[in-house]
């Protein structure tokens, strides 16, 4: 049963996954063990993505399946034990000032979340001041900046500078990502790392705070 459920998630058989999960829960399966199984399934999807077998559609579909599975299990998990998996670390992420695109950012958030990070989503068109203000309140170890447009490159740099001015630069690791980003842009912006996709964002975050 466990294996069947695992496979149905990993192979994008949405209806089957939901039916099996429901059946398991009704049959008295431990919801925390179920959540652990879901996490492993997402990890496997991530592996296949990394290997170039899966792409954006599979990541998005997995996100959809996960949302529905989380709905199913959330009432069954006894309060207090819900937080059983302790957070690997805190990540705060937003699309920088001037850019309103969010698809890439949302995928990164989903993958970080599925890998046990506590993620705060700031949204899109976030000014350097807002990044700093939110960082003071949330105290993340990692700050992620996303962009699709080339015009968002300068705001990335300004945001890093704002962290410096606020005296917070050495408190956070900063990662950047998005279509125009490469190592030259990372350096130009003064960020600590960059990644070409959500899987690289997760490895970077694990390297920095979570232990690989």
């Amino acid at each position: 049963m466990q294996e069947k459920l695992f496979n149905s998630i990993v192979e994008m058989r949405e209806e089957e996954a939901l039916a099996l999960a429901k059946e398991s829960l009704e049959g008295g399966a431990d919801p925390l063990e179920m959540v652990d199984l879901f996490r492993k399934a997402v990890e496997e999807v991530g592996n296949r993505y990394e290997k170039g077998e899966y792409f954006l559609p599979e990541l998005m579909m997995t996100g959809q399946i996960m949302n529905q599975l989380a709905e199913l299990t959330k009432d069954k998990i006894v309060e207090g034990s819900a937080d059983s998996g302790k957070s690997r670390g805190k990540v705060m992420i937003g699309t920088v000032k001037g850019d309103i695109h969010d698809i890439g950012k949302n995928i990164v958030i989903f993958m970080l979340d599925a890998n046990g990070f506590e993620v705060k989503d700031l949204g899109v068109d976030i000014s350097p001041e807002k990044f700093v203000e939110e960082a003071k309140a949330f105290e993340p170890q990692i700050v992620g900046m996303s962009a699709l447009l080339t015009l968002a490159i300068e705001p990335m740099k300004e945001t890093v500078e704002a962290f410096e001015k606020a005296g917070l630069r050495d408190k956070v690791k900063i990662m950047v990502g998005g279509a125009p980003i490469n190592d030259a842009i990372r350096e130009h912006a003064g960020a600590d790392g960059w990644g070409k996709d959500a899987v690289e964002a997760v490895s970077l975050a694990k390297k920095w705070v979570g232990g690989a």
């Binding site: 994008m12 949405e14 077998e53 899966y54 792409f55 954006l56 559609p57 998005m60 579909m61 959809q64 000032k97 001037g98 850019d99 309103i100 695109h101 698809i103 068109d125 447009l149 080339t150 015009l151 490159i153 300068e154 279509a179 125009p180 980003i181 490469n182 030259a184 842009i185 350096e187 130009h188 996709d197």
Partner: protein, 445 residues
């Protein structure tokens, strides 16, 4: 119809006729020397498209809002103030001397958008800050259970479902019935009933005013672009526009994520809808390029880039439909100009398709490996672009020059190549942009 015997011409004859007309620009009064410059530039572009070695490698970038930044006016200014638009676009062409025109029409008309309450995009001063270009605001404008409505009657779907959702002014159009009801006399008055509803009448008044605003706009941008051609001898480059059917669904109708889920949940509907969108996209490209007397049809590619889907998914949901649009345009003597932002490395063996006639299409690449692109498309399609945003943004003029020189000497050496950038430029230091044009002139012949 460009000639009386149009329907009896072969695609190659149509191609020649369209290029003759584009190159000759009958009726345009050129300034002294401008006609020669125009002919030289348009010949270089035509040669590159036909995979020949042009007298010099033409430099034809996609510059977005760059002229506004370059002239020191805001993005909002050029979308609202046609004098500032003209000043900035004229300055760009004078200062940079590009080989292809950056059409000022692409800046659209903020007044028209605002008047209608357009919601698919946010634009400077209206959702993005005054110095930021317009950006698409994707949402699920077509619902998951509406594929059949679109498939059965796309025009009605657009009028009564899509338009009311993306234009505040057209919300009442959801009350309109189909004109195809008018099959005989008794159906005439019945079909007119919705037009008696006050809200619908109000929206029609808005439509008339939008028409007035559009007239004011087209006169302004038409004059600006016409003057660029006549005084500076720079040919128009993007004659028309259409989309890959998958992108029409993803950008315009369903949104990226919902469409990606549809691939798993209702793949047959997605395929069926794209079949309907193929002839619509061909017709749009042919009509616009014919009206504008410019044979290149701009097709910006979005959701089929590397990473967006697997090769198998690309082979099923993206390429066959895009290819059908390309072939439809080529059949009419036009040149699809594919603007492949992002990476296209995993697609090269697929787009190198023997069914696409050689020398009749152009591929702008962004981060794609140009050596591999050239190997794949050699003798097949004109390849363009690749100067990276990161070099324009973070580099120095000599970095741009070096990059351009290398492209010219490796990718461009046998012809079939146009120098340019691969993702829309917008903001970049002017000296870096200038370095691209100068590199083209210095090393390109």
């Amino acid at each position: 119809m460009l000639t009386d015997n149009w329907k009896s011409l072969t695609p190659d004859e149509k191609f020649q006729t369209r290029f003759d007309k584009w190159m000759n620009q009958e009726g345009v009064e050129f300034a002294p020397g401008a006609k020669e410059a125009y002919l030289e530039r348009s010949q270089m572009i035509k040669d590159a498209i036909e995979l020949k070695k042009p007298s010099r490698i033409p430099v034809c970038p996609m510059i977005g809002f760059f002229p506004a930044y370059h002239a020191g006016v805001s993005c909002e200014d050029v979308m609202y103030d046609y004098d500032k638009l003209k000043m900035a676009w004229t300055k760009y062409h004078r200062d940079m001397q590009p080989d292809s025109m950056a059409g000022s029409f692409l800046m659209s008309s903020g007044k028209t958008l605002e008047h209608l309450g357009y919601t698919l995009y946010k634009w400077p001063g209206h959702g993005t800050n005054p110095n930021t270009p317009y950006q698409c605001w994707e949402k699920e404008y077509m619902m998951a259970d509406e594929y059949d409505d679109l498939i059965n009657d796309p025009t009605r779907y657009w009028m009564t479902k899509y338009m009311p959702r993306i234009f505040e002014a057209f919300a009442p159009w959801q009350m309109l019935g189909p004109f195809t009801d008018i099959i005989e006399l008794p159906f005439v008055p019945a079909t007119m009933i919705p037009f008696g509803i006050p809200d619908v009448q109000e929206s029609l008044k808005k439509l008339i005013e939008a028409g007035n605003l559009a007239m004011e706009w087209i006169q302004a941008v038409g004059a600006t672009d016409g003057e660029t051609m006549a005084t500076q001898g720079i040919p128009p480059f993007l004659g028309g526009m259409c989309k890959a059917p998958f992108d029409t669904l993803g950008d315009t109708l369903r949104g990226t994520q919902p469409l990606m889920l549809d691939i798993f949940r209702q793949p047959d509907k997605v395929l069926k809808a794209m079949e309907v969108l193929i002839p619509m996209n061909i017709e749009m490209g042919v009509r616009s390029a014919t009206t504008n007397n410019c044979p290149m049809v701009f097709i910006p590619l979005h959701k089929g880039a590397d990473g967006f889907m697997s090769k198998d998914q690309y082979r099923k949901f993206y390429w066959p439909q895009l290819k059908a649009v390309m072939l439809g345009l080529i059949e009419e003597g036009l040149v699809p100009l594919l603007f492949a932002e992002g990476g296209y490395n995993e697609r090269l063996d697929i787009i190198n398709d023997p069914e696409v006639p050689a020398g009749r299409s152009m591929w702008y690449f962004d981060t794609t490996d140009m050596e591999k692109a050239k190997a794949a498309l050699h003798g097949q399609a004109c390849i363009c672009g690749n100067l990276p945003a990161s070099v324009f943004q973070a580099g120095k003029p000599q970095d741009v020059e070096e990059y351009a020189k290398n492209l010219i000497e490796t990718i461009g050496k046998d012809g079939g190549f146009i120098l340019g950038n691969g993702s829309v430029l917008d903001e970049a230091p002017s000296e870096n942009v200038k370095a691209m044009f100068e590199a083209g002139r210095k090393y390109g012949s």
